[in-house]
Symmetry: C2
Subunit: 443 residues, 2 copies
């Protein structure tokens, strides 16, 4: 195994699950390993405490005549459950069929470490970098980066840069350079419905009181029209229509045809907002999704109970120019208006992040396209992304800097799902990409 | 502590949860304890194996000149979860505030053992019983008695009797004799919706495929009209309208006014089918309840996942003259018709039991009323019950015998819920009731 892969395996072995308090120490251990790695390469790396998980910052020796490039990544990962669906343990990486299998392999440890190892190679060969480098790696991306914006605010001067690069998005097909210029935003909420003071016998009391599980279902059902359109009042008011060049460009993008979505998802059929194809639906149209729903008896067999409460975890994906805080208020008003009779409604608004779009034809955008062209085959594809990286919007608002999204994640990487993987080939390409990217951006 | 309470504490200490395969041995141990107790009293008791949990049969010496009375009970109990809501452990009974606290205290171990101990007292004092007695105690009532009907079929002659008595229903108020003459039936189904082949990232794929958790919510929402009426086509076609004398009698029944239901359930408001009060809604009108719903992320915090599947456990309470098998087919047709696009629907029909009603003014009905009058204060109340005892219908169909429901369960007993209890006073009254009941039925 190469030294690079050995580093990645070590990095992947930390169960750095940011959402789960039981893994707090694992997240910290992982951050410390990153700091050690960066210092060992000749950068000056430091761990910065936050009220949550720490942020790692590293720099080379800066020179006022060079351009300053910030590379962002995150070392935290999503939970790995359901564990029984993994073919190999999520935190014991394995290589099979040319891919590295582990939680975080693609999202984001594999992509983040490729940049680190590209920098390591350049430093080892040349002793210096063509740019002033700032590495910023956080441990809370999977929980909405609650402490990164305050950190940017308080370290604004130190983090001043000309351009930001992130590899935490999709590559449209193997060996195809992909430049992302837009992301969906997100707005989360958890809704609880309570009814009787405790679980009731559904025979003795069923019929006399509202059932919270039925009520939560009715509330969820109210969120959409039968055709899949979101029914929240005002939801689409600020949605920026797709431009003609975008629809034309996206029609050329490999791997994102409807049939590709069907194959990758394994869904019995595609389904979504009328008038758009799958790429358009996921890149440029907003959604309201249930991430989890629960209430009443969850075990084997039957239990004839009328549950005391039920919950639903919602996340809304937003597109330019929807404002998360406006949308959350619209959601709240909708839920209150549609709450069934006989139950109590509790709404807890969760994390949010603004949608993002920049111009892929800017000076730095063109440099990135050249780097992608040099690393991969053919013309780079210009796309948006369905996922959310709220921090990209924060970079723009706080640091005043645009972000280039140089994705290395394939659509079958199963990020956030069991059996996440990352091709060895993408890992190695990521290392090469970093080297030429820094050169092109320096021009 | 009295010897009777000691017996009850021992009986309650078995976690005889019939639905959970992990408790199979506990259920068997409990059955063996019952057999031992009955043999020790001078009855001839035997444990009969079934494909599930065993049935206990006991008899005295029969005499062709006496009437034959069968007393039915069940020694199995509901699951005890959520455990954290119990004030004392569910299988370590305690007496507080004049009540016995344990899973099964009321449903059905307390009531069943009261009959056994009444018989023990009569035998100890008189050496014989005024009737030919058959005790039939099963261990699968809480899972729909799947093996009792076949057992009745194969032991038809041995179980031939003139009347059946059961104490597994409600007493309308403390110290108030209650004769139940009707029960709701039940029809259960578990519905699963599957979508993508695995949990998906809700950012990358949300919008392009149907969300199974949303779909199950839409399906559940389709089961009712906003006013609480069940929306399944044909559902009310065979419902027997309430008779005038029933509504008048029930208006006199203490403890079942709307305000009592509100107090006992602790619901923020009552809610149900228009045109009926709470007693009528629970005793004489059918329902469609969600017993459990689940799908996607169930843990703390958020996980932005589009779940691969979701489920709902449904139970429909039925009233005369609804036929469970007809209703289940109507339910199936409804679910198939209303299944949202883009997902797959799986319906597993579960256990069912017919609704029941008999004439409370028959010869045995009057004998039961006399026994209740002698044991408690005032005129007995004639009621129906919202719960289901499918076996009552089986007794009628297979043995050709009617069943008297002499309930000792108070509405605040929290059966099927945490902190189930049974007043010591009801336990002692049940022992007395058995003695006078056998005398009255013998006349």
């Amino acid at each position: 195994m190469t030294a690079e892969l050995q580093d990645l395996f070590k990095f992947l072995s930390f169960p750095s699950i940011s959402t789960d308090p039981r893994h707090k120490t694992d997240v910290l251990d992982c951050a410390n390993w990153v700091v050690e790695k960066l210092n060992g390469m000749g950068l000056e790396a430091m761990l910065h405490e936050t009220p949550g998980h720490p942020i790692v910052i590293a720099k080379n020796q800066h020179d006022a005549s060079k351009k300053t490039v910030l590379i962002y990544g995150h070392y935290d990962v999503q939970p790995a459950d359901p564990l029984n669906l993994w073919d190999s343990p999520p935190f014991a990486p394995e290589i099979r069929e040319g891919k590295i299998w582990a939680r975080g392999a693609t999202d984001n440890k594999g992509q983040m470490l490729a940049h680190v190892l590209g920098i390591e190679k350049t430093l080892a060969e040349k002793g210096e970098l063509p740019v002033n480098l700032i590495l910023l790696f956080e441990g809370e991306e999977e929980i909405g980066s609650p402490n990164l914006a305050p950190f940017l605010e308080s370290h604004k001067d130190e983090l001043k840069c000309d351009i930001i690069a992130i590899s935490d998005t999709g590559m449209v097909a193997p060996n195809t350079g992909t430049l992302g210029y837009g992301l969906r935003g997100i707005a989360c909420a958890e809704v609880k419905i309570t009814g009787p003071a405790r679980d009731l016998h559904s025979g003795l009391f069923g019929g006399a009181v509202a059932n919270p599980a039925t009520a939560i279902a009715q509330l969820v059902a109210s969120l959409h029209l039968p055709d899949g359109t979101v029914a929240i009042e005002g939801f689409y008011d600020s949605v920026r229509p797709l431009e003609k060049w975008e629809r034309e460009m996206w029609a050329k993008v490999p791997g994102v045809k409807d049939e590709d979505f069907q194959k990758v998802t394994g869904a019995p059929a595609l389904f979504g907002e009328p008038g758009y194809n799958s790429a358009e639906r996921t890149w440029a149209r907003p959604t309201a999704e249930v991430n989890g729903i629960g209430g009443g008896y969850q075990g084997e067999g039957s239990k004839t109970v009328l549950p005391a409460e039920a919950f639903v975890k919602l996340s809304l994906r937003l597109v330019p120019d929807q404002e998360p805080q406006v949308i959350l208020q619209q959601l709240k008003a909708h839920l209150e208006k549609h709450c069934p009779l006989g139950v109590k409604l509790e709404i807890e608004l969760g994390h949010d992040g603004k949608p993002y779009a920049c111009d892929p034809h800017s000076e730095f955008g063109k440099a990135a396209q050249r780097a992608l062209k040099a690393t991969f085959s053919g013309e780079p594809m210009l796309i948006r992304e369905g996922g959310s990286i709220p921090i990209v919007q924060a970079f723009r608002e706080i640091l005043g800097t645009d972000t280039l999204l140089l994705g290395l994640a394939l659509s079958d990487a199963q990020i956030h799902s069991p059996n996440e993987s990352f091709p060895v080939e993408n890992f190695e390409a990521g290392i090469r990409l970093n080297r030429v990217l820094l050169e092109e951006l320096a021009k």
